[in-house]
């Protein structure tokens, strides 16, 4: 098994910025890990796990018969 190096956030995430191309309100925060790798956090303004579009779960009667 490879070694699990200890990681700490070096650059810290930048300010939350809106993600273009969607109306969900998705935002991202970009940071840098100590070894220089990029990390981007995505989150919705609504509570995690909630559907951003009321009705999207009912978008269709998706099942189609043969």
């Amino acid at each position: 098994m490879g070694e699990l190096d200890v990681i700490d956030e070096a650059g810290g995430p930048g300010p939350a910025e809106p993600v273009a191309g969607t109306r969900t309100g998705l935002v991202r925060e970009v940071g840098v890990l100590p070894d220089g790798r990029r990390i981007t956090y995505y989150r919705l303004p609504a509570a995690s796990g909630t559907c951003p579009h009321p009705g999207s779960e009912l978008a269709t009667d998706s099942r189609v018969g043969p």
């Binding site: 098994m1 490879g2 699990l4 190096d5 200890v6 990681i7 700490d8 956030e9 993600v19 273009a20 191309g21 969607t22 109306r23 969900t24 998705l26 991202r28 890990l33 790798r37 990029r38 990390i39 981007t40 956090y41 995505y42 989150r43 919705l44 609504a46 995690s48 796990g49 909630t50 559907c51 951003p52 579009h53 999207s56 779960e57 978008a59 269709t60 998706s62 099942r63 189609v64 018969g65 043969p66």
Partner: protein
């Protein structure tokens, strides 16, 4: 050693990333590097106590923005090149024990936006020609970390399968003046191989399925990339992908392994490929039965000629039975 070597006998590049031999291999849950860093707990790859979706550079990348020079000298017969590009890990949830199928619907919808955003970010980076989000799921696929996640590879050239699709689409367009995937969608709509249908997206077992329960999820309209989908199309794409994977898990009564990949237009500012690039998401589960796998053996691996064990029409009917 990280480098690309050209195979002149197949007109393909092969990437060598020998450091990946050392990557983390099936750690126990308490040692998962993709779990959040809990207060007072061990530090992981994600230095936060909770997150929704997080994307970071793979610690063991096959491609990187500033790769080392090739260790071997190239020649006109054997060109070599640095493995420029980027490899990202997309972690779907901070819950170690969930899967794509078990995510809340809103999280799947969020992932569609995240993939679109990553494709835009990575596709704009120097040396990147193609961005492909994908997920390997299940031990039999070779997954080394159980935490629900996918990956995104930003390649320095269009990989062979998408490239072959694009060449076929170019040929078809030259012959007919139309997009081949648009014609496939029209042919499959409401046909015997459809598994799911939404107003803007359909999912079907391809007429030419290479794996018994292979399914393609495709926008009905000609959309070259995820970024070209409007919100309703993204809603439908997420909804169908989610229902499909939940159905997969009911197919044999266990969480079904698969390879999922997004095929879209090549990266870059020019949109020359747009007329023949039709976004689609491919799911390829390896199971042909609950206890039997479809192996890539002589004909498939050596000959490149797939032989499939289940008729697509029968596979689609079976999937419709288990999809709610």
């Amino acid at each position: 050693m990280t480098e690309r070597r050209y195979d002149p006998t197949a007109d393909e590049w092969v990437t060598f990333a020998t450091h990946r031999q050392d990557r983390t291999y099936k750690p126990p849950a308490e040692g998962c590097p993709l779990c959040p860093t809990r207060p007072g707990g061990r530090l992981t790859e994600v230095p936060r106590p909770a997150y929704e979706v997080v994307v970071f550079d793979n610690r063991y990348p096959s491609f990187s923005p500033e790769p080392p020079s090739p260790e071997v000298a190239g020649s006109s017969l054997y060109p070599v090149a640095p493995a420029v590009g980027r490899c990202e890990v997309v972690v779907y949830s901070d819950d170690h024990d969930t899967t794509f199928a078990d995510l809340p619907p809103g999280r799947v919808r969020m992932l569609v936006d995240v993939w679109a955003d990553r494709a835009a970010v990575l596709g704009g980076e120097p040396g990147v020609s193609y961005v492909m989000p994908f997920e390997n799921k299940g031990d039999v696929i070779g997954v080394t970390l159980a935490h629900p996640h996918g990956q995104i590879y930003a390649y320095p050239e269009v990989p062979p399968r998408p490239a072959r699709e694009l060449r076929a689409a170019l040929t078809y367009r030259a012959r007919t003046g139309r997009c081949v995937e648009c014609d496939v969608v029209a042919a499959e709509a409401e046909g015997p191989r459809v598994v799911l249908a939404a107003p803007t997206v359909i999912a079907f077992v391809p007429f030419w399925a290479r794996f018994p329960y292979e399914v393609h999820v495709v926008p009905r309209a000609h959309r070259p990339s995820l970024a070209d989908l409007d919100d309703h199309e993204r809603d439908d794409l997420a909804d169908l992908m989610h229902r499909l994977t939940r159905g997969y898990d009911r197919l044999f009564g266990f969480s079904l392994p698969y390879v999922m990949a997004v095929h879209a237009r090549p990266s870059g500012a020019d949109r020359d490929w747009d007329p023949v690039s039709h976004l689609h998401v491919e799911f390829a589960p390896p199971n042909r039965a609950a206890d039997k796998l479809k192996y890539l053996a002589g004909s498939e691996l050596a000959g490149g000629a797939f032989v499939t064990d289940v008729a697509p029409e029968r596979a689609a009917a079976r999937l419709r039975e288990v999809i709610v």
